[in-house]
């Protein structure tokens, strides 16, 4: 198991390098630059700025300078927000984003798995239909529309929750954004769980477990859930990364102080350092998530360990 984990970590290194390289060059393909404003800067000022951020050098040199700094843990300065470097901006915004996304993730995964199991056990009976309907709503309505609807209904009409904004430490303000994030995730999880659970409940080994008189509860808990989790677990990694990226938009809609604010403005301003830094951060999170998923997978399905 440990050797397997080590192999998986090693294989992540080239993937990370390729991703960083691709991001770096694709970002430069976009027209404009960090210092193109509505009012053009004097040429000498512009030249000094470009020299300061190494933008006057050939692109390939800039790339190696960036990689060299990156290897030393330096994500570089923000080219637009004066006096802040990228790491500082991430340190300010990311904890909030991560907290919100993880909260949504944990809640949605738990609800999704439970709902999927219930729907599978009561296949084609009313609990199944009710859950499928709830899931469809979450998956079909895009998050910006869902956000607006929830804001309007629960924030403005019913006044149960604040429609937006942030007061430090107030969980109350997180209820609506977390709901918007969690609903589609829970929906997708429950659909996967329902499908795989129905499949597992029809397998020969579940029939064997029933023939042993274990009782339906133990049959489900011990014999059906673990194998049924396989497709769900393989979705959790990508699922959390959807939540993290989705939270960028949701933060914007609800006016929350996460990293989304910096990322969106940085992208518009061509603040190369911030966009790259955030992208690299997300890349590492996704790689780490996939690694964790693979390890959980190996635990769930012993056959995987030997491949």
């Amino acid at each position: 198991m440990l050797a397997y984990a080590f192999r998986r970590v090693l294989s992540a290194i080239p993937i990370a390098l390729i991703a960083v390289t691709a991001c770096f060059f694709i970002l430069r393909l976009a027209p404009g630059g960090p210092f193109d404003g509505e009012r053009a800067l004097p040429p000498t000022v512009l030249a000094n700025l470009r020299a300061h951020y190494n933008l006057d050098q050939p692109l390939i040199n800039q790339y190696f300078i960036y990689i060299w700094r990156l290897l030393h843990g330096d994500l570089g300065p923000s080219m637009v927000i004066d006096g802040f470097n990228v790491s500082q901006l991430i340190a300010i915004g990311f904890p909030f984003t991560l907290t919100m996304a993880l909260t949504a993730f944990v809640i949605a995964t738990a609800i999704g798995m439970l709902a999927g199991m219930v729907a599978a056990v009561y296949q084609n009976k009313w609990p199944d239909y009710v859950l499928v309907l709830a899931v469809m709503i979450g998956v079909l309505i895009p998050n910006f529309l869902m956000a607006a609807l929830l804001q309007l209904w629960f924030g403005v009409y019913l006044r149960w929750f604040p429609a937006g904004g942030w007061v430090n430490g107030s969980w109350w303000h997180l209820v609506l954004p977390v709901t918007v994030l969690a609903w589609p995730h829970a929906g997708r999880i429950s659909r996967l769980m329902r499908g795989s659970m129905i499949e597992v409940l029809g397998t020969n080994y579940v029939r064997t477990a029933r023939s042993k008189g274990l009782g339906e509860r133990l049959v489900l808990a011990r014999h059906a859930i673990k194998p049924a989790l396989l497709p769900v677990v393989s979705y959790l990694g990508p699922g959390l990364s959807y939540l993290l990226t989705g939270s960028l938009a949701v933060e914007q809609i609800f006016g929350l102080p996460g990293i989304g604010k910096y990322f969106v403005t940085a992208a518009l301003n061509r603040d190369y350092g911030v966009v790259l830094g955030t992208t690299i951060l997300y890349m590492f999170i996704i790689l780490a998530l996939n690694l964790i998923v693979d390890l959980v997978y190996a635990w769930l399905d012993p056959k995987v360990r030997y491949r």
Binding site: N204, Y205, R207, T208, R210, E216, K226, P302, K303
Partner: protein, 327 residues
């Protein structure tokens, strides 16, 4: 001898989208203590479904009527929670495909010991020790080590041994083996049958052997029940049925089996195909494929009629069977 299982008028129906299929029709038989009963028939004859229904393991759309008495307990229509005190303990089942019948994500010892934890109230350690002993008993080398293995680390024969060990942990009164050797190599098949025989003898367990392999029947069974189209068509002692079959279908089965002693140029299979259960012919279900069919068979379904020596057959034809068919 005492009866351990008495089945009366057992019927199994499956609800389809807008119709109903009868897989088993008014099946009645008894199982004596310690005996081996072979249930023989082609695919779709209802032999597996009959016993799955007794075990409460039918597919969701299946429904069972009739009675299956173990002592004074009727297994048919029993609530699952009640049935779970009986199956795995007093009546156990082994399935055809050992490759898919064990849970791939659980260690062998877990799948064995849980039976004892549930039915005998053993704690985990005691149950695991008993499980290892049972693995040794079914001939698994290094049982303590193999108990920690996952099913995919074992061969088909080994897995079927594990299945046997699992079924016999509580020394059940009845063991139902549904084509236990079909998925195995021929060399392993014989070992497996010996194992069945010796273990069920040791435990005094009655064995129901569901099979289409008459070689298997000849080797281990005491009595035999031949099924066709969801009904029993002939019952009796194995030797008598083999040497003096009274139902044309039994005869056909015997002729379809290759025999080393009189090696014919061609086998003599039963003509035609097994009937679709949705469209059983009028009269005797076997009539389209029968060489001895006459007008009464087309109109009337032959009931199971007692013969001398405790045998039974469901056929109107009274003449000699052998002479007409084979030279």
């Amino acid at each position: 001898m005492s009866k351990v299982l008495e089945v009366n008028d057992l019927s199994v129906t499956f609800a389809l989208r807008n119709s109903e299929v009868r897989a088993v029709n008014d099946l009645s038989f008894t199982l004596e203590a310690g005996e081996t009963l072979a249930v023989v028939g082609e695919s779709g004859s209802g032999k597996s479904q009959a016993f799955l229904s007794i075990m409460g393991l039918l597919a969701r759309n299946g429904r069972t009527t009739g009675t299956a008495m173990m002592g004074d307990i009727n297994l048919v229509g029993m609530r699952t929670s009640q049935l779970d005190h009986i199956r795995g303990k007093d009546i156990a089942m082994i399935f055809q495909d050992p490759m898919t019948s064990l849970n791939p994500s659980l260690r062998v010892k877990t799948q064995l010991s849980e039976v004892l934890v549930k039915h005998r109230g053993f704690d985990k350690d005691k149950a695991t020790r008993a499980a290892v002993e049972m693995l040794e008993r079914v001939g698994i080398p290094e049982p303590a080590k193999r108990a920690n293995a996952y099913p995919h680390e074992m061969s088909g024969g080994m897995r079927q041994r594990v299945m046997i060990a699992m079924a016999l942990l509580c020394q059940p009164k009845i063991l139902i083996a549904d084509e236990p050797t079909t998925a195995l190599d021929v060399t392993v098949q014989a070992q497996m049958l010996d194992l069945f025989k010796s273990l069920t003898d040791d435990f005094g367990t009655s064995l129901v052997l569901i099979t289409h392999d008459l070689g298997v029947v000849a080797g281990v069974a005491d009595r035999m029940m031949v099924m066709y189209g969801g009904r029993a068509v002939e019952k009796g002692n194995v030797n008598e049925l083999f040497y003096d079959p009274r139902h044309p279908y039994t005869l056909g089965l015997l002729h379809s089996t290759p025999h080393i002693a009189h090696r014919a140029a061609r086998l003599d299979p039963i003509k035609g195909l097994p009937p679709s259960l949705e469209h059983l012919p009028k009269g005797c279900s076997f009539n389209p494929r029968c060489d001895f069919c006459f007008d009464r068979c087309l109109e009337e379904r032959p009931p199971l009629m007692p013969l001398a020596g405790g045998r039974e057959k469901a056929c109107f034809y009274e003449g000699p069977l052998q002479t007409r068919k084979v030279a």
